[in-house]
Symmetry: C2
């Protein structure tokens, strides 16, 4: 496994140092404990904080900035951050209106954010993102949080900027999360530096349908097929879950898992757009690119988020972060 | 080779259709002949047009929009576009002030852009980008154009928007191109759909120093080493070429070639930044991410562009394209 690294133990901090320098106008990085915060602290608003294992960049650190997150806590690769990170981040950015945590549904993240919330001496709420429909709703650890997280973070971040209360943001975040569904497909595994190789291997003629962003097993390993056939299975699964009505406005997000070209992602977008257009769904917003990666996995996910006028307005609101920027 | 494609012959058009839909607010795509143009045509300015083989996305089509390109002509993967594409694009966007072509130095591109310029019945100039220092300056086909192209396109695009003349833009583009140097390193080859596999293969313990963005052979195949050692070789090569003085302002661009994680790119940025900071160079602007890719190659390039106050102002000027956006 060839990577641009010096040592597994120093990779995260060396990378964060580069991130801090490349975006010195926007963010500040604390190293002990590790968190990324806005350079210009927001005042008089609920602090919106997320975090999770590293290896999914730009999620979450790339979304810290005006109109989105106030802080993000990066764990080691594919490893939850620890409660002291969330606690320190919250203490650094909280400004009297409370803290909203946006947490992807993984056992370690959920537990550690809960511990941090209990230790925090200010009001807090948590929005749990579980948009990955690969697992059934009643699965014993619930559904995983994947690429839909960026949509929750963008919309909730914009509403926080407008001065919405902690209770309003919690309700808004839950509403976005409930109306967002994702499914991923892996063409290859991903190489984890600490393992020195891939988490899993797929035969040349097989793909993993419903893969998670750490290479977790999905619904099934199926035959490799044409893009049209693969995308059809993906969008039908999402469509069955969300059941958008004709005329429903929606955001279509095609996310690269790391090693898949933009050419392919736009082709996937075209096929998914075609499907929903024929169903009468109004795909009025789009996001195509690598936003929630799984290190260097070849593969992609499709996310559909049902929108209304309020959510469209919040999606369109100005944002200025390292990885997502418009209107500023 | 597993990819999200239906057929090699339809990949480009299916992808362009998705690109057109995902960015319908910004661009329009013509399919016969193929070019991408701004949706809202600019008036009273020099038309800035680029193009080249596909497989390097977001370059060039992702840079069409206000403040950057007026049009871009995508060829098939790793294949020059044909003169009729540049001609049709120029006729579509030229508005009385002439056309500036920005061309990466590859024999096919140079020839085809020249033919188009001759067929065009309006004034035109060409800026040739040859920032890849892997080959010696006196190499018989000259040096290749690689990741520095995005910097030329951004700065020239901003100046065109300000109303600069064709002659001024030609001089400006040449000045930026001459003060920009890049070097790439491949950890793996890239999978070309028409070949059904990689252009070249590297043993597990070897890397290609000075690789081109189509997998062209570079300076030499060397032993895989630590990020610090690899980056040291890269930045020393650039430093020797540009010889920045102490206090020199510069833009540092770390570009992913396709399958390399952002974590690694920021780590490379950190090491390169450290080197030039110690040399007294003022790295005042940065760009980190996948901007000039080589399909799914694992690897990266480092680009240094020497800046002055005018170039900084033009780099910072508002831009609104699918892949680069700020200030709007």
């Amino acid at each position: 496994m060839k990577k641009f690294i010096n040592h597994v133990d120093t990779l995260l901090d060396e990378s964060l140092r580069g991130f801090a320098k490349a975006h010195a106008d926007l963010v500040e990085v604390s190293f002990d404990p590790r968190f990324v915060r806005r350079k210009r602290a927001a005042t008089d608003k609920v602090a919106v904080i997320s975090g999770g294992g590293s290896g999914h960049e730009p999620l979450h650190i790339g979304f810290v900035g005006q109109g989105m997150l106030d802080a993000a806590c990066p764990g080691q690769i594919f490893t939850s951050p620890t409660p002291d990170q969330m606690l320190a981040a919250a203490q650094a950015v909280e400004n009297g209106k409370g803290v909203l945590f946006i947490v992807k549904n993984y056992a370690g993240d959920v537990m550690n954010f809960e511990i941090a919330a209990e230790m925090l001496d200010c009001p807090s709420e948590t929005v749990l993102v579980q948009d990955d429909i690969a697992l059934p709703r009643e699965h014993d650890i619930g559904r995983r949080g994947v690429a839909g997280t960026v949509i929750v973070e963008k919309i909730v971040g914009a509403a926080a900027e407008e001065g919405k209360s902690l209770a309003e943001l919690k309700a808004l975040g839950d509403r976005v999360a409930e109306n967002t569904a994702s499914i991923g497909v892996a063409l290859t595994g991903c190489n984890v530096p600490a393992l020195g190789g891939p988490t899993f291997e797929l035969p040349p003629d097989k793909i993993e349908f419903g893969v998670g962003i750490h290479g977790e097993h999905g619904r099934e390993i199926v035959e490799f097929a044409s893009a049209t056939e693969i995308v059809k299975t993906m969008v039908e699964a999402i469509d069955e879950e969300l059941r958008p009505r004709r005329g429903q406005k929606a955001l279509l997000h095609v996310n690269g898992l790391g090693a898949t070209t933009l050419m392919e992602l736009y082709l996937v977008y075209e096929l998914a757009h075609e499907f929903w257009s024929q169903e009468g769904v109004d795909i009025c917003r789009s996001l195509v690119g690598n936003y929630t990666t799984a290190l260097d996995m070849a593969g992609c996910s499709i996310t559909l988020a049902l929108l209304d006028d309020e959510l469209i307005r919040l999606w369109d609101a100005p944002v200025h972060t390292p990885a997502l920027r418009w209107g500023i």
